[in-house]
Every structure is written in structure tokens, then in C-alpha cells.
């Protein structure tokens, strides 16, 4: 059976999940994913975030590039690997929190071509390029979304083929391209050595 159970609720894919319920290690000011809009468990994900006032504080109103990377790893490796580990082990994310620590361990190339300000909703299209031994490598794109667009509706019929081509309408603006974003779930006991 695909997915996992959380408090008796069958979670078939991330679209049914509030990000805070799977990225549970992140506090409210550090969680940089608002919603998942499309998910294929072994393939990839589409998620969105809208920078808040605290995200752009002391940075001339602009959402930092480094926070784009952080948002992307949360939306991709962090979320996707947690989902798969819960599915594999029959855990809920709260069970996993006691055993594994999601860790950000590597970045390849990141190219920024535009920017995001407070209130600019952006979508993260991420695909898994490697997953083994709890280590996941992802790559993808971040696009600024048009104001007022219903993203759930826009992505309801999205497909893997479109993800692979980053196939979005011209109303989306490319912000960044990210490669080899790598996360690994590390045994909690490692941090107690």
C-alpha cells in the first residue's frame, strides 16, 4: 500500500499533508513550505511558499537566495524522503522524529535569475535524481507564481512528463535553478556521540 498512516489517517501522498505535519523538526519561522500541490512519491513534488515579513527582515525586502535553497530542500529531499521512510517503515513522521534527523548535507550548482519579495508566492518543482541509504538528491526550479492563481487547481492534472520539462505557462517567472540538492536522514544516535 502506498503512503503511511498518521493517527489512523491514510496519507497517500503529500498533497493530503500540512507541511508542518511532515517537516516537524522546523519551527514556525523556519518552515519554508506552505503547501504541496502535486506529488509522485518516487518522482518529485510541487510545493509553494510565500515569504512573510520575518523572512525578508534586514534584507531590503527580498527573500534571500540561501532561503530559496532551504525552502527547496525542505520541499524536496526533506519532504520526499520523510514520506518514503514513513511508508517503508510503517511510521508516522512523529515516530521518525525519534529515530532519524533530516540533515542537509550538500549543494551542487544553484543559478539565480530573478528575485522574490515579501508576498510573492513561488512554486518549487523538484524531482528526485537519486535515493539510496536514506540519502536523497534532488534538482529543480523555482518559479514566481502569478498573483491570485489557484495553485491547487493549476496543478491538479500535473504529470511527471511536465515536471521533467518544468512545463509551466508563460505567466510563471523562473527565479532559480537548483542542482544536486542533497539531504540525508541520519540516525539520531550519531548526534549523541
Amino acid at each position: 500500500m502506498a503512503g503511511y498512516y498518521d493517527n489512523g489517517v491514510h496519507i497517500e501522498n503529500l498533497c493530503a499533508v500540512n507541511p508542518k505535519d511532515i517537516l516537524i523538526a522546523y519551527g514556525p519561522t523556519k518552515l519554508l513550505v506552505d503547501k504541496y500541490h502535486w506529488h509522485s512519491p518516487k518522482v518529485g513534488v510541487v510545493a509553494s511558499y510565500t515569504p512573510k515579513a520575518h523572512d525578508v527582515e534586514d534584507h531590503f525586502g527580498v527573500f534571500r537566495g540561501v532561503d530559496q535553497i532551504e525552502a527547496f530542500v525542505q520541499a524536496t529531499a526533506g519532504s520526499l524522503a520523510t514520506f518514503l521512510e514513513c511508508e517503508k517503515n510503517g511510521w508516522a513522521p512523529t515516530d521518525m522524529k525519534d529515530k532519524l534527523v533530516p540533515s542537509f548535507i550538500g549543494i551542487g550548482t544553484v543559478n539565480f535569475v530573478s528575485y522574490l519579495e515579501e508576498g510573492d508566492t513561488f512554486v518549487m518543482l523538484g524531482k528526485t535524481t537519486y535515493y539510496k541509504f536514506k540519502q536523497m538528491v534532488c534538482e529543480g526550479r523555482i518559479f514566481k507564481a502569478p498573483k491570485g492563481l489557484d495553485l491547487d487547481d493549476y496543478f491538479k492534472n500535473f504529470a511527471e512528463e511536465r515536471l521533467f520539462k518544468y512545463d509551466l505557462g508563460p505567466e510563471f517567472t523562473l527565479v532559480s535553478a537548483l542542482f544536486d540538492i542533497t539531504g540525508r536522514a541520519i540516525d539520531r544516535s550519531y548526534f549523541n556521540r
Binding site: 539510496k132 541509504f133 536514506k134
Partner: protein
């Protein structure tokens, strides 16, 4: 399988890793540390382990890798353990 045979096979694997300067592979011992001595990024260690599986025709479990140290002897011990496990 003898330990030296495993080390030799491991060095063959390491020669295929683009991030490792071949000169650093001269004089590799069981105490050699992948990260400190061979400057392998931690993210690359999993790729090396995956190549080791192919080289030695073995399959590691996730739990095998969780506690894996970063020295050559740690990988040699694991290969021999998994070989013995059959």
C-alpha cells in the same frame, strides 16, 4: 576473502571516484579516513558505498550504513560482515 583483497578492491573503486585525487590513493591504509585524508565530501560517501556493492556483488541494508565510520577499515569490516551474512 582476505582483508588485503578487500582493500585492493576498494582502492579500485576509489580510483573511479572523480572527486578523489589519484595521488592520495598511494599508501592508503586501513586507517585512512575518506573525509580527512581523501577529502571526500560526506554526500559522496553514499555513492562510494553504492559502487562498493557493485564491485563486491553484495547488498547493504540501510542499517549497515547508519553506523558506518569514515575510515577504510570501517568499510572493509562491513564488506566482510555482509559477505559472511551471505
Amino acid at each position: 576473502m582476505e582483508r588485503q583483497e578487500v582493500i585492493d578492491g576498494l582502492i579500485e573503486v576509489l580510483k573511479t571516484v572523480r572527486m578523489i585525487d589519484p595521488e592520495r590513493l598511494v599508501g592508503v591504509t586501513e586507517e585512512t579516513d575518506f573525509m580527512k585524508d581523501l577529502t571526500v565530501p560526506s554526500s559522496e560517501l553514499i555513492n562510494i558505498v553504492a559502487k562498493v556493492e557493485q564491485k563486491f556483488d553484495i547488498e547493504f541494508e540501510d542499517d549497515d550504513i547508519d553506523g558506518l565510520g569514515s575510515q577504510v577499515k570501517d568499510v572493509v569490516d562491513l564488506i566482510l560482515k555482509v559477505k559472511a551474512r551471505g
